[in-house]
Symmetry: D2
Subunit: 271 residues, 4 copies
C-alpha cells in the first residue's frame, strides 16, 4: 500500500560496496575505526561532520551527566523485564528506553524549541529577558507547560546543570542558549509566581544547541546516554537479579479499591 | 506476588543524597562530568572501574565498527516505526534495538562463550588449535551452530575484523582471545568442510574479552553502538521520511499464495 | 526518588488471596473462565462492567475490522524483527505495536475527542451540522489536522466504515456519534475545500463511544486488534520467513545521496 | 544487503484490491465484520480456518484465564513506562509485552514441546506414564528444566488449571494432551524428588494442542491475552497514575552496596 509519497528511498548516511563501507563520506575501516572516539562518531553520524574540540567536550559531558541516575522508573521497568525474559537482553533495553518519554528527560527537545522561540523573538542583538518574558506569557496564555524548569527533589539548581554550563564555558563553546535559558529562569517567577530552577532537561539543549547539535536529534542524546546506564544495570541484573524483589516491594502496601465477590476474605497476600 | 527470592533489592552502581550523585564510587559532578569520555564512562558503569588506555582504544574501535551498516533490517524497522508514530522517537529506537537478536550481532555473546570453552579446554599454556578442534567437534556432535564465523556477503574476512585486531595489537591489549578466535578459524574447514571466516560477531568478543570486558555484558556493546546509528537514521527520517517508501518497495513484488473468495479479481494493488 | 505524588499505590482491577483471583469484583475461576468470551472480558477489564449485547457486537466488529490489513509497515517491521531475533516472539510483537502511533490507526482517540467537542458545542438537541462547522473552522484557524477523514487509497468511504455503522444499527447501539461523524463529513468540503471521507480511524470512535467505551481506552482497541494480526504474521514468519526478503526488496532501488571517499566505485550492492 | 535467501516475499494471510480486503480467503467486509467474534477471527488469522465450537470455548477460556493477574512485574513495568511517557500508549503496551518471556508465561511453548516429545515417545496407543518417565529422565540427564510445573505460590494446582481442563471436557475437546500433562505430573516426584504440580503454563498447551492450535503460535496466546489486561491497567493509569508510586515503593528499602567517595554522608534519600 502506498502511504503518502511512495518514492524511491534514499539516504546520506552510509553506503558500501564489496570492499568498502562508507559512513558520512569516510571509509569506515581506513578513516574511522581506531581513529575516532565513539562520541565523535556519534556526532559525525548524526550531523554529517566531525565535532570541534569544544563540541566533543560538551557532548561527552552531556552524555555522562544523564546516563545514570540510580533505580529510576525506567531502570526498574528494564530490570523487571529482564527478570521475566532473561534470554532477551534487547527486550529489556527496549523496555527501559520506552520510558524516555515526555515526562522524564524527554523535555530536552521541547525546551530546545522554547529557546529557539526566545531567540527568534529577541532577534539579532535583542533583549533576551524581554523576549523570554513575552514567550513565557504566551505559553501561560495557551496553558502550555514550561519544559525544563523545576525539579521534584532539588529546590536549588540540579548540580549537573552547573557542571554542564561550566564545561561549555571552559571549552569556549557558544554560550548563547545558556544565556537564553538563564533569561527564562529569571523571568519565570514573574509569570508563574514560583521560582522554578533550570533542570537538566533544559541544560541539555542549552549546551547542545551551542555546539550546533540539531534540534530534532536532541531527544536522541538522553536515549543514547540512558542505554549505557541500562546496560550496566542489566549486567548487574544478570549477575544478581533484583527485578522481582523490586516488584514485590512495589506492591507491599498496594490497596485494592475495587469490588469483591461475596465471601472473599482479604488476606495479606496481593497479586 | 513473590516470585523467586523476594528480598531487599540492592545495587552497587549508583546512589545519591541531596547534594551528591555517586556513580561507581565517584562523585558524578566533581569527578566525572567534563572529566571522562562517554566511552570510558560506559566502561566504568558496566565494570565498576575505569579503563586502561588500551581498553579505551579497543572499546572505542568496537563501538565505531558496529554502530552503522546502512539500511539493515533493524534500521528499516525503526524508520518504518517512526514514520507511523513520529511523536515517539523512543518507540522507534526501541523497535530498532529489538532486532539486535541472535541472528544479527547477537552472536557476540555466544561466540565469547565458545572462546572461553576453548580457553578452558586448552588450559594454561595448552595447544589452542587442538582445543579448538575438540570443542568444534563437540559443537558438531551436538548440532550446535558455530557462532561468529561465515558471512553472507564477504568470502574473505570482513574488513572490520582486521581493523579491530590491528587496534588491539597497536595498543598492546591482551591478544589471547584473538589467538583463540584464529585457531577456531583454522580448524573450521576440517570440522565443517567449509572455509568460514571470522566475522565481526566473533571479532567483538575476541578483542573485548582481551580488555577484561565481562562476558554477560558483551551483548550490550552492539546494542549501545547500534543505538547511535539508529539515532542518526531517525534524525534523517524526521527530516526526510523514507519509512513508507521502504515499506512500499518491500511489497512491490509481494505474492499472495492464500485462497481467494469467488469473484475476486486480482489487480495490481497489494495491501 | 519521589516523582510527583509518591503515595500508596492502589488499583480497582484485580486482587487475590490464596484461593481466589478476583477481577473487577468477579471470581475469575468460578464466574469468568469458560463463561465469558474474550471480547466481553476485555470490556469488563477496561470498563469495570460486562457489555450489553449491542456492545459485544460492536466491539467484536471493531476488533475484527482492524486486526489485519496485509503487510502494512508495522507488520513488516515486526517480521523483520523476528527474522533478526527469532527467539524473542515478544520482541517482534512489541516492534509491531510500536508502529500503532499517531499516523496509522492512532487517530481513533483524537477523532473521538473531535466528536465530543462537536457534541458539547451542539448541546442537548442542538444542530450537529452547525456545531460541526464551528468546530471545524476552529481546527482550521488553529491549523490542526482533522483526524479520521481522508484516505490514501479510497476516494469513497473505506468499505469497513459502512460495515461498522451497519453493525451498530442492526444491534440497536446508540448512533449519536455516527450522526456527529457524518455531520463533520458533510461540513468538511466547505471548510477544507476537499471532499474527505470518513475513514476507519473515525469509524472506531463513532461506534465505540456509542456503546459507552471510554475515550482514554480508544487507542487500546487498535493495539489489541493488531496484536492478533501480528501473531498470525509471526506464526507464518516462523514457518516461512520473509523478513529479510522484505528488507532486501525495500532497498533494491535505494539511492545514496551523501558524499563518497576518493576512489570509491559504486557497485550494485547497497546496504 | 541480502541476508539468507533473498527472494520474492509471499504471504497467505491477506490481500486486497480496490474494493475488497481478503483475509484467509474470506471477504473481510462481507463475511467477517459483524459475523465472527474476535476470538474466532484470531483462530482464523493464525490457523487459516474457523474454529469448531469446542475450539472457540477452549480458546476463549484460555485467553480469559491468563489476561490478568494483578500488578505482576510486566504490568508494573508497563504502568511505570506510561507514567514516564504518557503520550505513547503503544510504548507502554510494548514494554509490558516485553516481559512475556521465558520465565513468566513463556513456558507455554516449551511445555507444548515437552508434551509432543512424550506423545511421540509413547507412539499410537502407547503407555503415557512410561513415555513421560523416559522423557523426564532425559531432561534430567541433560539438566533441562521441566517447563510448566511448580508454582511459587500454589502448592496445590493453580485453580485456573482445573477450570481450563473442565472447559475442555465440557465441550468435548480432544483431551489427549491433558492426559499427557497429567502423566508427566504423576512421574515428576520419581524423577525430581519433589511434587511439582501442573501450572497454567502447562495447562495452556494441554488444552490448546487439543483443539489443533499450532505449536509455534502457542507463545502468542499469552501475549494477546496480556495485551487486553495491559490496556485495562493503562486506562486506569491514565485516570489515576500509580506508576511513580510503585517505583517509589520499590526502592524504599533499597540498599547500596557499592563504594562511596570520601565525605559522602548517606541520608534517607535514595536515587
Amino acid at each position: 500500500m502506498k502511504i503518502g509519497k511512495a518514492t524511491v528511498p534514499h539516504t546520506a548516511i552510509s553506503t558500501s560496496n564489496e570492499d568498502t563501507i562508507v559512513v558520512r563520506g569516510e571509509d569506515l575501516c581506513k578513516d574511522l575505526i581506531g581513529k575516532i572516539s565513539f562520541t565523535d562518531y556519534f556526532h559525525l553520524l548524526v550531523t554529517g561532520s566531525r565535532p570541534t574540540p569544544a563540541a566533543t567536550a560538551v557532548l561527552d559531558a552531556t552524555l555522562v551527566a544523564i546516563a545514570e541516575h540510580g533505580l529510576v522508573p525506567s531502570v526498574q521497568a528494564s530490570r523487571m523485564t529482564l527478570a521475566a525474559a532473561p534470554d532477551a537482553l534487547q527486550g529489556a533495553v527496549a523496555a527501559g528506553i520506552l520510558g524516555c518519554g515526555s515526562v522524564i528527560l524527554g523535555a530536552s527537545e521541547t525546551a530546545g524549541r522554547l529557546f529557539i522561540e526566545v531567540e527568534e523573538r529577541a532577534g539579532a542583538g535583542g533583549d533576551l529577558d524581554a523576549a523570554a518574558l513575552a514567550v513565557l506569557q504566551e505559553y501561560r496564555a495557551a496553558r502550555k507547560a514550561i519544559p525544563g524548569y523545576g525539579h521534584p527533589l532539588h529546590k536549588a539548581r540540579d548540580p549537573r546543570v552547573e557542571r554542564l554550563f561550566a564545561v561549555a564555558r571552559e571549552h569556549g563553546a557558544n554560550l548563547h542558549y545558556i544565556a537564553i535559558a538563564e533569561a527564562i529562569e529569571r523571568q519565570i517567577p514573574q509569570v508563574i509566581g514560583k521560582d522554578l530552577r533550570l533542570n537538566v532537561s533544559a541544560a541539555i539543549p542549552a549546551v547542545l544547541l551551542g555546539i550546533g547539535f540539531p534540534l530534532p536529534a536532541l531527544k536522541g542524546v538522553p536515549i543514547l546516554a540512558r542505554t549505557a546506564g541500562l546496560i550496566a544495570h542489566l549486567t548487574e541484573e544478570l549477575e544478581q537479579s533484583i527485578g522481582f524483589a523490586l516488584s514485590y516491594q512495589a506492591t507491599r502496601e498496594l490497596e485494592y479499591d475495587g469490588e469483591l465477590p461475596a465471601g472473599f476474605a482479604a488476606t495479606a497476600s496481593h497479586s
